[in-house]
Symmetry: D2
Subunit: 335 residues, 4 copies
């Protein structure tokens, strides 16, 4: 039984069906009927006019958004555990042409305004140092924690005051919204977010994510289109990406899938409240586990990652129902 | 009826079926069972050990291959009509970090050894000029012409003599092989090609191409893997790309599709031999057409691109049988 | 006797004297008293408020200016014989992060509005092609010809109409102004030039050039300062660069030196009016010369470059008086 | 009295004299007689065959060396207080095309093998993370401390074992050698250093530093020449840089100047042994100083930087004799 990554999960049937349904002749790149629907579909979900561009990976979404927010000689503040720092092989540096990531710390891979101010304060305002131009936060965080609306808004205020862009890496944005049970607008543009990497792949998609531009950042969409093409990310049959995304949005499939994944995580967390390293707010559970305990779980067929020494990470997916997760929860409880 | 681009065509049913068949849990990125089969599948087709990496677009395939063959301060020789020069918004410059394309001329977007030598000879061997490190040719060319085995080999000899890498943009490689009716090896590694962008998308695929490394260039595969990740091109559910490619290779679907597309082009070309700007060797036909003639064809429902003044381009696709193409051929013949 | 490059010339004595005079303790980088005088000194010469930044080379000046005018996914139009295309090893591509140079032709390495419009017209306005953002012209040109005020103004109008930046590579700007005998303002900002690489080194300087920003382009100065530092071009003892430039400007040394160099070229040109490939407007003379004639001149001790087949280039320098040039002129006349 | 930076110091008279002496016609770029002497001059000092390239700034020297040692997708380990991280506005990222700096900690801005191993151990050996390719250390460090021969050798062993390049930022290399009183070879190539940025400017030069390649790294010299030109760092009158460097090496001026600067620092340090934050091994002294004490020193005319809260940095220069430094030492002792 697989709990090592939501990337290993299958693709939701409606997404596959949408690919089949899209399988007819249409114009190339993103001029097709499906791609042309993206802006409207996301504008409805976010209750404001947005622009939305598909790409194949969350790494591309993050890097393209950051490149539009930060010049080559600028800096981007993020958490030391951020995906953009640790898991993208320098895609942000590549797409920004060499901007620097300034790393902060904070519980559960979340940043606070105080920490962000501390980092900003450590940079001299002179030409010898790369000046911050953007803040990037991950929602839900790399440790499965969720920024509340107020927490995002506080960071948004800080960014506006300093003239920075605010980027949200939403590889698990659906899981965060499902946890908060709020309007997507509340934790994005209303809280000051300029660009969002809206994740689908971990949540039942196959190969499509979206870069959402809110408010003034919509003015960057034209530039991002050039950067996307230049990055080799303008698929000639882009309609099959658009179709995936539209299928995810249709009937709130994105939220249903996220709720299912979150429920699995809760089942595990509830079985081991004393072992939790962080509250399990999304679809990831980090628990304390000795080497022997880990071995005994693996002997029972559970597949997961060790996380540092004495800890382990379990990721639940949209397609894992209670029947599949309960045996793990029980095995942990029985340790 | 659409004749403006093979990018507008649908996806081959076996490719769609392969996506559905791949729809189960597996490891992420390219560690899954399907991705692991790629090297062997291509090695069989090319009758030698190759390495093969999937990416989502031909632009990414070309740019990643070129970045592995040319340093930032180097130059790449290509035809002035090459896709890498005209249609990739500078992806080669982006991935190589600023290498320069040196442009040649030649009938039908094909380069000859003489022309390549002329370009090379125009570069002073000093630090003030970017020195050529690679040659990139397109097979079939942007004007639907095909390099013969001898023609590729002559360029391959030149590259070896000068210590350059030889890259082949094979967005329509299948069409070229179908035309030549030769072993794929004959126009690639046996003729000196180091890296091939093996196209699927124009030929019935959805969102998968392959970068093939031959011979010594296989030593570059590790570096390309880092560059691919860094470019945001390592899909987390890469198995769905591998599945597409394997489906294209299975039972020679790639060649069958290419033959079908080529047959359509031949039908058109045979209907207007006196109008041909170039011989129609692959699936593109360029013919002389007055503005009035073009208008009359469009009035009949045929969709195609003007190409400069007094010329037009018709592209046939894998899914267009004689029944669909014949009306166009007849309409042209009747002009 | 050396006529192969004005780079080989010595440094003007007032420049050397200025270095000695500057040899005391002062603040580092460009906060010192001398660097602080640059804006005012150039503003006086150009009869308008300008910002001026020193760098060590003309290549750095050009590349930094172009990087401020063109994004990585944009294009810069220039002549095929431009220094930025042929003699800077891709510095523009490096500093712009991969912008493309679009090459034009034109008598004497000069571009006309018609030619520039032709190039612009060859670029489709879509995301697949790099869109022009700037025009770069060389004054005096690589073939020693000078754009008149009207010629610059016509190109300036074109740039304004299209929203492009206009950069002038003025490695031999002094020679051009000396030839035109006009106010420097007339061929720069009044004619629509946004940024000028103001050359000193070929004209008696040692290691200092200036990037001048006019009008709205002054708003780019802050960004260029970061790019300059990032390029390793912010010297810690920058006052010795500023001192060189101030010495060049003092008492019109820059114009006196240029006039002297131009006079040498005129002496040569007047000796061989029938051999001239281009009118000798600045300090370069291109003449037709057979291999035997070239050999005979070299046998007499004259040092110069062959320029293609049957032509030769002679460059005169600020420190070559009539006594030094006349023997060459007479030798050519006697051929 | 100025103690805030050795960059503010004047230029040594022999360097100025060398500029005047070099002021005659010679070939351009680095083909001139003076530039051609550099390899031999440095080979003698380092007792082995080296290649040496001049550049104008230490930032350029560092960035060019690192670009030759680390690919765009690689990482460079350095101290969190390193000049390349904090004071070069991302020049390493620019010249490497986006490599990442991995930051360590350590007393006095020095790295230990344990710390370097700790950082290396934190990087997973997979394609999602940028792999270390080089280590960069600063000799003397940013806090005026000096790596002993054994310390460098231990880091050199580590680099060789891991296949990394070892770069030494020697902006104050002369001060370090003067302190150690060792052969320059002992703390460079014999200890495993591949490339050295040999500083002159802080030590009495005007605008010239050297990049030294040792051993196998000499094979990178050709590539660095292209990168140098591309970076706009190939001065057309390069002979005036070579002349500066040769003047610094002549009669051990570089060591004499460094000894003088070190002696000044010792004078200060000896006056306040209980206040020292770090041992004053080179020409920088960091002492604990209250705000009131700092103010009282400034009131007496001493100019220096605060360094964090409650500390201050004093930098002595080659041209400050005991007469100039003693008043400061006495003032500190009297606090």
């Amino acid at each position: 039984m697989r709990f090592f990554s939501d990337n290993a999960a299958a693709v939701s049937q409606p997404v596959l069906d949408a690919l089949a349904a899209a399988n007819s002749v249409d114009t190339a790149y993103d001029e097709d009927a499906q791609s042309q629907k993206l802006d409207a579909a996301f504008s409805e979900i976010f209750e404001t006019e947005v622009t939305a561009l598909w790409v194949s990976t969350g790494t591309a979404a993050n890097a393209l958004a950051l490149a539009a927010l930060c010049p080559p000689h600028g800096a981007i503040i993020c958490h030391a555990e951020a995906h953009i720092q640790n898991d993208e092989c320098g895609a942000p540096e590549f797409y920004t042409h060499g901007a620097k990531l300034l790393l902060g710390t904070g519980e559960g891979a979340k940043l606070t305004p105080d920490e962000v101010e501390r980092i900003a304060g450590s940079i001299r305002d002179d030409v010898h140092q790369m000046q911050p131009h953007a803040l990037s936060i991950t929602q839900a965080s790399e440790y499965g924690m969720v920024y509340t609306m107020d927490e995002v808004a506080a960071l948004g205020d800080l960014c506006r005051a300093r003239g920075w862009g605010l980027h949200m890496d939403g590889a698990r944005f659906a899981n965060a919204v499902a946890h908060l049970d709020c309007a997507p607008a509340e934790v994005t543009w209303r809280a000051g977010v300029d660009m969002l990497s809206f994740g689908c792949v971990k949540n039942g998609g196959m190969s499509a994510e979206a870069i959402i531009q809110f408010g003034d950042a919509r003015g960057k969409a034209a530039e991002i289109r050039y950067r996307r093409k230049r990055g080799g990310h303008l698929l000639s049959k882009g309609r099959y990406l658009a179709a995936q995304i539209l299928a995810m949005l249709e009937n709130d499939l994105w939220l249903d899938n996220a709720r299912a994944a979150n429920a699995g995580a809760k089942l595990i967390a509830d079985a081991a409240p004393d072992r939790l390293v962080y509250p399990a707010e999304a679809n990831e559970v980090f628990i304390r586990l000795s080497a022997e305990e880990a071995a005994s779980l693996r002997a029972k067929g559970f597949d997961f990652y060790d996380w540092g020494v004495g800890e382990a990470r379990f990721v639940t997916s949209w397609d894992q129902g209670a029947d599949e997760v309960r045996p793990l929860a029980e095995a942990i409880a029985a340790l």
